[in-house]
């Protein structure tokens, strides 16, 4: 279980290679998700995105989510990297990945990690639109997405 919360950018290729190399056995499947800063928010053009987080609790929650995923699926490894600070349009925000022998576990667990991260990891986004910063509101869809895991 690799968890990193950092201001700097990451190279997904290198991080996934590390995840793969850390597996006890050659994984047959790695699923990975990258979230990027979009250029529009509710039809308004964004200039930048700033992410605040609760240092300490963030890492703790991301490790808890990774552990939950590893209990639920037969995984060979998991990876979460989440950035904070000021980001530009198109920048990478988050990378989540799971390694497993068969593809289904990798697909489902990565989606599970993202669904829980969205509602449990203490990050807050602020969008810059027309030179004004506005805190992003949480989405009901994100709460509802958890239901599919039946926990």
């Amino acid at each position: 279980m690799i968890v990193k919360v950092q201001e700097k950018d990451f190279i997904a290729e290198d991080e996934i290679q590390k995840l793969k190399n850390n597996c006890m056995e050659t994984p047959g499947a790695i699923n990975s998700f990258i979230g990027y800063v979009r250029n529009f928010s509710n039809n308004k053009k964004l200039t930048s995105l700033t992410i605040e987080h609760y240092a300490g609790m963030t890492e703790k929650m991301l490790l808890e989510i990774s552990a939950k995923a590893s209990q639920k699926w037969p995984l060979l490894g998991t990876l979460i990297i989440h950035r904070y600070g000021k980001l530009n349009i198109g920048d990478q925000i988050v990378l989540a990945a799971s390694a497993s022998l068969h593809r289904n576990a990798a697909f489902e667990s990565t989606q599970f990690i993202m669904d829980y991260l969205k509602t449990q990891a203490p990050f807050w986004k602020s969008e810059e639109i027309n030179n004004q910063n506005k805190w992003v509101l949480s989405r009901k869809e994100d709460e509802q997405a958890l239901k599919k895991w039946g926990d």
Binding site: G35, I51, E52, H53, Y54, G56, M57, K60, M61, H82, I93, V94, M114, L117, K118, T119, Q120, A121, P122, F123, W124, K125, S126, W135, V136, L137, S138
Partner: protein
Amino acid sequence: MRILYFSWLKEKIGLNSQEIIKPKNVETVDDLITFLTEKSEKHKNAFSDLNSIKVSVNQEFADLKTKINEKDEIAFFPPVTGG
């Protein structure tokens, strides 16, 4: 006890964090909010809609009834929006 604020709660209250000595009659998160809002208009304003606020005690999600102690780290913040 150490109290942390994030996102718009931090901005409304004007503080990242504050240290207070736990008053005797403060036993739960709910009591702490009552204590803070009685002393400060900014807190009263920030805590006006409790439905829009989440709380953690020692970096675990908590609720209004959660018991708190002198050495606890309590954080107030809006629902998270990362990812």
